[in-house]
Amino acid sequence: MFHFGTKAGLHSPMTQNKWTISYDRASKASFAKYNQKHPRETASVFSNLARVIDYLQSGRPIEPPPFGFLRSEGKGLYRIGQTGVKSAKETRLYIFFAVIEKVIHVLGIGDKGSQKRDIQNCLGLVGYIMSEQQRKGNSNERD
């Protein structure tokens, strides 16, 4: 199932035309550590994120996922894999699309081994972002 952001976004003054990136929820320490261990893979997943955002800027939908490296993990969480890296460590960059607000939230990075734990952590962050949006929406409706 794909989450099209919260209803609150419809009334939000934050609604904009261009997609933007937010990484407030991500752990910088884990990104720095992963990048140190796997610099090529980290660069590749961010390069693929750039392709996703370029695709979205042209107004096309994210569902069904247009790229092979973009997979849904359920509940609105997606992962971006590395491409074009020889003998690569399977890497996943976890993101959440807040479609109405047009914000891509970068949530985490990890490999196949830490996948289960990473997904659980990121789903927690998705829940937090959605409830925050809901709260903002409710206060906008009251105003």
Partner: protein, 192 residues
């Protein structure tokens, strides 16, 4: 194809604390220009990987692998089959490294002329069908307008470096006037 999206590059640097990541991202982008272009062709055609695979006579997994590969690892046969599956024709341009820009421009101008001729041929084949010839006629006008606008954009970059003598100025003005007259007389200009 454009360079790496700035906001993504900033996010990558901020999260990893490594400014060198931008160069590595750019390397990734350069290594996959061809496969990115192929994928974009598929998306423009509105085809899922599975359908492209069916048309290519291979598995969806192979298409997925092709789109995830480096340009250097993709086989010509696969590129040709993929292009065909997404309803695109493929042409190869061998460009001499030493060839000056002026000669390259000439090649492209001739290529554009050939394509415009092929449009005129279509008009001939449809026996002057009003709707089709009307659209071709309109398109000729659009091509002329786009060319003029883009030419002007490039020309303005050149202007600061050109020292114009009064005589040259008179000559160039007369050339421009005659070109303008010719354009106004042409049917394409009428739609612009």
């Amino acid at each position: 194809m454009s360079a790496i999206n700035e906001s993504v590059a900033s996010a990558a640097v901020a999260l990893t604390g490594d400014s060198a990541i931008v160069e590595r991202m750019e390397t990734c982008r350069r290594r996959t220009l061809l496969v990115s272009a192929l994928t974009e062709m598929r998306l423009q055609a509105g085809l899922p990987q599975a359908q492209v695979a069916e048309r290519m006579g291979c598995t969806a997994s192979k298409v997925s692998k092709l789109e995830a590969a480096c340009d250097a690892d993709v086989r010509w046969g696969d590129i040709a089959a993929y292009s065909n599956a997404v309803d695109c024709s493929m042409s190869i341009l061998f460009d001499e490294k030493e060839l000056p820009a002026a000669a390259r421009i000439k090649q492209h101008v001739f290529a554009i002329r050939d394509l415009l001729d092929s449009l005129a041929d279509i008009a001939e084949h449809v026996n002057g069908d009003k709707e089709i010839t009307g659209k071709i006629h309109q398109f000729y006008g659009e091509v002329l307008l786009n060319f003029a606008l883009n030419f002007d954009g490039s020309y303005q970059k050149l202007v600061p470096y050109v020292k114009v003598e009064p005589d040259d100025c008179e000559n160039s003005e007369s050339h421009a006037d005659s070109a303008r007259r010719k354009n106004l007389e042409s049917p394409a200009a009428a739609t612009v």
